[in-house]
Symmetry: C2
Subunit: 441 residues, 2 copies
Amino acid sequence: MAVAEFIPSSSLNKRTSLYSSQLSYVSTQISHQRRLSVRSLPRTNYSSQICCSVTSKEAQAPTVVQADDPKKKNECYGVFCLTYDLKAEEETGSWKKMISVAVSGAAGMIANHLLFKIASGEVFGPDQPIALRLLGSERSLQALEGVAMELEDSLYPLLREVNIGTDPYEVFQDAEWALLIGAKPRGPGMERAGLLDINGQIYAAQGKALNAVASPNVKVIVVGNPCNTNALICLKNAPNIPAKNFHALTRLDENRAKCQLALKAGVFYDKVSNVTIWGNHSTTQVPDFLNAKINGLSVKEVIKDTKWLEEEFTEKVQKRGGVLIQKWGRSSAASTAVSIVDAIRSLVTPTPEGDWFSTGVYTNGNPYGIAEDIVFSMPCRSKGDGDYELVKEVIFDDYLRSRIKKSEDELLAEKRCVAHLTGEGIAVCDLPGDTMLPGEM
Amino acid sequence: MAVAEFIPSSSLNKRTSLYSSQLSYVSTQISHQRRLSVRSLPRTNYSSQICCSVTSKEAQAPTVVQADDPKKKNECYGVFCLTYDLKAEEETGSWKKMISVAVSGAAGMIANHLLFKIASGEVFGPDQPIALRLLGSERSLQALEGVAMELEDSLYPLLREVNIGTDPYEVFQDAEWALLIGAKPRGPGMERAGLLDINGQIYAAQGKALNAVASPNVKVIVVGNPCNTNALICLKNAPNIPAKNFHALTRLDENRAKCQLALKAGVFYDKVSNVTIWGNHSTTQVPDFLNAKINGLSVKEVIKDTKWLEEEFTEKVQKRGGVLIQKWGRSSAASTAVSIVDAIRSLVTPTPEGDWFSTGVYTNGNPYGIAEDIVFSMPCRSKGDGDYELVKEVIFDDYLRSRIKKSEDELLAEKRCVAHLTGEGIAVCDLPGDTMLPGEM
């Protein structure tokens, strides 16, 4: 790795084959050792010019201009273009090896909460240096610069790199985590099928980009709606990345379900465990009270009101977003960001003994008899290594089975509707009515 | 404290004298032991009705209706009205005694970032249970409920109580920290004198309320502008609280100054230390490069460009907010919230050896020859006990002296302008031109 000394990693990222995952891997390792000097870049074949000032006059994002391939540029921002010696801190054993976290929709409100949590160490731990790679649209590029400026001004010691850009093939380079929040909101009168198509196209493109340039074991969390099918489209377009690595976020639903069970039982929410959201992040989702526990007891032993459990509980969980918009005047960006943090932490810290969490994952090999080849929220446990296994010790009754079936049917219908985006032929759309959750776009 | 068992603390808060700080103190202690039962409240003289559901139908904030004094109500929110046994967790030694943190302007964007940081444990530590007491205006009450709902859905284990309200005499009860963010924005054509008057009135009222009902050693951080003089007004109206406990937030300016010095020197921001913001949080503020250090060396040894230090540096720090609004389209809520976190953490964790932080504090007894009886940003160190001492080892030159003098003159003029709010006679306003920082309201 001696080659990396005094050579900007950005120039090393300029690959003869952009799609070589081997090279991508090398680049990840090298970037930890980079020591960019703003003033005295070595004039080698790989030389680059980096602008790092942040005055209003020099308003454009600082750009790495690469002599021999002007198209492939790597953008860094302000103070994050500067010299640092992270290697020394890694060698003392006080810090882990830096990881790259890519975030799409990075100029939006959810990301505005999430990025500062990631940079603070709250998500990956106080010894984990972070590189943030922020993806936005052309329209949001100025706002992305604003976000980068606020991250600069926050002086987070763990935040070592911030890159911003509009091309997923650049922004996703070497990403070990991809948090895909960006999605087009549903226009007036748009059907779910229309939304599936416009956002499906975005997620197909981002899947291809991840496949080409991200770390080969990147973990992907899809937040943009309709998130289950977006995640399916994304993984189908990224055949070199394990399908198991793709998640659709149902954690906010799980958190809301825990809160509602706590309220009904009259206990604090830390006493509620083993809550699963089954299925699609839509109104067909199934918050599972059959397997959930309160103070270690079955929910049905604690909450005797079966009518409430079967009829009101799910509705309360699902209407939460709508009530919130009504009160707060905007969607629940802060608690969505918290639930993304929870979803990541559940994968990077060992699951507490006896408990589990739920996340939308690929169904192949599932032990529940759920149709294969869709992304379905199911109960999982993790050793804290970024991976997970499905929980086997769950029970079903006819009520739970029938509701899971309905969500499964919906996801199979959504899948037929995006066949053109998953490489499986011609799309046929026979979706049921509008199943968007209230308060979501 | 046996009396507290099974008696709602809310009913104990109903005092014969609302202004007795002794009683206030008792109530704080009792509230740790409270075990509210939603369904079977004891029907004593102190009995109360508490509504805890959060459906859209029951849209109002749950209200404690007190039989014998309907005016004095204590509002809790949703799941935070429920049973918990914090005492048991305190007794095992795993958690500290709960503290109450009051926040004004709680429905605004800065608070929307800050509250989740406080609830997560990032500010006061992972073993510090928190009660949040949120103050809003009548107009923002619905939004406050939305904030409380999102806090519920975040399932933070340390967050044990959330109260919302519009009356500072209720919301500030027993507060050990008061983070005063709420302020009226400057209307079109309004002079600084006008802003001083309308916001000064708010801070006079809140000072009186803190004096009456907060913990006698409450720490107060004023964020609402013009924050130095607002803090002065607040402390003058709270004679029972030590004047030393009041702070005006200049930490965002300090963070921005560190970032700009890092950029200019071409080093990462963690190498910059001993930065002071002197004076008013306005364009007369003085970012001090004479005492600041980079990699342990005097800034002037590292940055030889004196013209940049004397002319451009301060401007870059001060124009940051304006550039940010231009790019991001709104003011810097996220990094302001981060700087409030930094300001609190600087008081509750020991200052690193040899370094310091700056905060706007009461000038009486200062060793720098700055006029007494104003709130002025100065360098401080803390043992981590919530208190601080002014740093003696600072040097001055004519340039620094003259600039500090200008900010001092401005604050003395602001003080004359609010004499009617500090109990010092008739206001005389002879303020210089507009010294609001760009990007602030």
